[in-house]
Symmetry: C2
Subunit: 408 residues, 2 copies
């Protein structure tokens, strides 16, 4: 969380997906993960919520994505998400859909709520049947508690090395409103509509259409602007549940508090997105790329994503090699309009290219900007006023090692 | 070269870019490469040629690309290409263009031909001024010889571990016609119009419009269907020079020999493209992916390229891990129309998925198909009749090591 955001909102210490009033969660080790770590859980609200979500655009969506998308289309309301790691329940055909439906049913029975208010999210290996015996034995044993957020954040992890949580608080109509969230990454991360799994709970009262547009706007600027490996998952799901338990007045698109809510939601999602990129599989460095001076926002977004997505930029980052030509080459491949005589590039605070050519700065000076766990680059295209920011990570030997024997 | 191709054409043993009559080449170590290896040369024809080319679509094209493209647009004729490795002459502004022009001029003087009949190709580090003192000292010392093809193929290498050459012979109107070529890769390889550098020389007599359409057709099916790392270079250039010295009748789009010529050209380019993918930076395995049953050729091409381009598929290939869900996930991200209930997948000769789900084949059986230096996969989308083939390689620790300190 940057200083400027913490001035606008209060960042809650120890924030989690259960930081907003009325949210509970719990998880346990059901035996789905071979490691024996927590892998099954429920995230729920005391009261039914306005619920919106963004899902993967992958043409092979996993069964939980199909189920949750269909339920939210029929009815923008939900009260809980049953989740698991260790098995993606993707490429499992009709049986996969039946299993996702049963998983929701089991959670609904356990919570004593209507089955169609339960959504499902799964992550893990693709193409393996869901071990439903473990799910059936596990779900009834999940204890959902107001302080269960951290437990849930552990249980959604796959190759993540650490949980990713964040919460903020701000005022709406004299009442404190909170937004809390958790995400998991960290491979097959190149979100297109949403990231692998994200759970966002707020006690604000939101009009459904505003909730949907706010989420889409924020996801486009946060989770959709990170990449780890250029592969969009079959299971990407980002849920926003709003239960209204803050008692604050409802927020709609025309409300004076609308922009405030969007900014707070963006603060949470930015923090979570950065945590995902920093924990990218094998990563040792977070890369933040700003593109300015673009002719359109679409150009700026495409250029920023191309730089963080370039294998060669990522490998150079790993070696702290200020091989800036690779950055321009990536921008040149992005489809963004460029004028080679106008483009400028900074690595950290050092300008390495101006009007498309080297500034003559020494390699050592540029390289010094690549030390440390976070590196920034800025490309100014010199053509317009549009800008965008994207996040990625370095490409390391550890990524290859981790992914060369994932299923075996 | 596969058996079926060798039945149609004669593959010349020891084929090179100077296998066709009247082509010569030479190279030397001018000192541009820090390693002291050969890095500067000339590829030339005894007689002026019909000349066509495809170039990178990168919006930051290197100076030699701009120069060569402009010359061929003005006049589809050329007689020589001056080339160097060790410096890409990209992102060098107006000075880069002046240097490329001077390089052509020096070669023209040395060969005693008109300067506008000389094209230029460079490969190496981006954003570094061309060491023109070395070029000025080197070009006049290059000896072009009919047997100089192998020497030239060595001198265009950058991170390539071996030269890539091929030549075939076939008959046109009772005369033997030859096509010989060389390419270099092997990083920043995700061609869009053409590959890094390719030189194709034939002694056929070609009508210019037919030469252009034949080259485009073949490049789309060969060099544009390989990827090493998803990064399209600033310097991609693929030249086809036809000098007519075979004495065979001219070939135009309506000639009975047109399809024959295209097939022979495709045989040469397929061989060279496979050699590039197999020698991808750090690669230990060549991956050939066939997509069939697609609704359109564009879908088939996109799906095949997505699979060979997926970091996760490439890493799994390296570890011989038959994690087939990653293949479907890549197809699902390609933009191709899919029906999840119809897709089928084979690794080698073992079918691992049918109607979108696992066939239940054992991991060991599938893994056995991933041993060896060449692995094939086939995806049948079950929707139509369009097909495409793409080539890539595995992602290895060696790729990361090589690219994390390339410029330093």
């Amino acid at each position: 969380m940057t200083a400027s955001l913490s001035e606008t909102f209060t960042t809650l210490s120890d924030g989690s997906s259960t930081s907003a009033r009325g949210f509970r969660a719990g998880a346990l080790a059901a035996g789905i993960k071979a490691s024996g770590k927590p892998d099954l859980g429920i995230w729920a609200s005391e009261a039914p919520c306005v619920a919106v979500a963004t899902f993967t655009q992958n043409a092979f969506p996993a069964a939980p994505v199909v189920l949750s998308r269909d339920r939210l289309r029929a009815n923008a309301r939900a009260q809980a998400v049953a989740f698991n790691a260790g098995n993606a329940n993707a490429c499992n055909g009709q049986q996969g859909l039946a299993d996702a439906r049963e998983m929701a049913q089991l959670a609904a029975q356990h919570l004593g709520i209507a089955p169609d208010l339960v959504l499902v999210a799964s992550t893990g290996l693709i193409g393996q049947p869901m071990p439903m015996d473990l799910v059936r034995a596990g779900i009834p044993r999940v204890e959902v508690r107001p302080d269960g957020g951290h437990e849930a954040a552990q249980a959604i992890m796959t190759t993540d090395t650490r949980p990713k949580e964040c919460a903020v608080a701000f005022e709406v109509g004299g009442r404190e409103v909170r937004i809390g969230g958790m995400t998991k990454g960290v491979g097959m991360i190149h979100p297109n509509m949403a990231t692998m799994l994200a759970f966002l709970g707020t006690d604000a009262s939101l009009e459904p259409s505003f909730a949907a547009s706010a989420l889409k706007r924020v996801v486009d600027r946060t989770f959709n602007m990170i990449t780890v490996d250029g592969d969009t998952s079959t299971n990407d799901s980002c849920f926003l549940l709003a239960n209204g338990l803050s008692g604050a007045p409802a927020i709609g698109a025309e409300s004076s508090e609308a922009e405030r809510f969007v900014a707070a939601l963006e603060a949470v999602c930015t923090d979570l997105a950065r945590k995902m990129a920093a924990d990218g599989e094998g990563a040792s460095k977070l890369l933040q790329v700003d593109v300015s001076g673009a002719r359109s926002e679409a150009d700026a977004r495409a250029a920023a994503r191309a730089v963080v997505g370039s294998s060669l930029v990522k490998a150079a980052l790993h070696g702290e090699d200020p091989n800036w030509g690779r950055v321009f080459a990536a921008v040149g491949n992005s489809g963004a309009t460029v004028d080679t005589a106008r483009a400028a590039l900074w690595i950290g605070s050092v300008q390495v290219a101006r009007e498309g050519i080297s500034t003559g700065v020494s390699k050592d000076e540029a390289r010094a900007q690549m030390h440390g766990s976070e590196v920034t680059m800025r490309v100014d295209l010199g053509l317009g006023n549009a800008a965008a920011r994207a996040w990625g990570c370095d490409l390391t030997e550890a990524y290859v090692v981790e992914n060369s024997a994932y299923s075996t």
